[in-house]
Symmetry: C2
Subunit: 102 residues, 2 copies
């Protein structure tokens, strides 16, 4: 799983990315349904995040990529949409890292 604490902390050092991560915790509460997809299982797509962020599609896509490279979210392509959801395993690991190693 090889998490990179520095990369993770950098990913978390941005208000918008923290927001995204928070929204994804309870997606049904923060996003409108989309294509009959189960947000809890599959995630939400870039457009949904873009709209909620009120930033450009380019920025949203990049932020999601940063969170993904840090291991905080995972991605799945379905048709022309790319869905992202939290990676609770990594998030738990960081919690443990924080409690034990920091």
């Amino acid at each position: 799983m090889c998490m990179e604490p520095i990369e993770i902390f950098k990913a978390l050092s941005n208000e918008s990315r923290l927001q995204i991560l928070h929204w994804l915790k309870d997606p049904e509460k923060h996003f409108t349904p989309h294509e009959g997809i189960d947000m809890r299982k599959i995630g939400v797509c870039v457009s949904q995040v873009t709209e909620k962020l009120k930033m450009t599609q380019s920025t949203a896509s990049q932020y999601l990529a940063i969170l993904e490279r840090a291991g905080l979210i995972t991605t799945e392509r379905i048709g022309k949409f790319t869905y992202y959801k939290r990676n609770e395993d990594t998030i738990r690991e960081i919690g443990a890292f924080f409690n034990n190693d920091i």
Copy 2:
């Protein structure tokens, strides 16, 4: 207590500052004694950190200041020395924040 997650994550987004925080967890293991000070209770001074970091005094002082502003360490001046030690309360809080809010 008003911790600022973003500022905390920024402070942690740097290898040297993570090191400092780690060294301070068990200071007796990482620093040589200094002026008969109890490192566990009082902390370690800027010179000790500077030497171990192998960076300039200027940089060490600034990094300690960043960690302090983030609430991760506290400072105490004794004579001409400034001692820094971990702020376990804040660190625990962040752990909890991480587990509950992220």
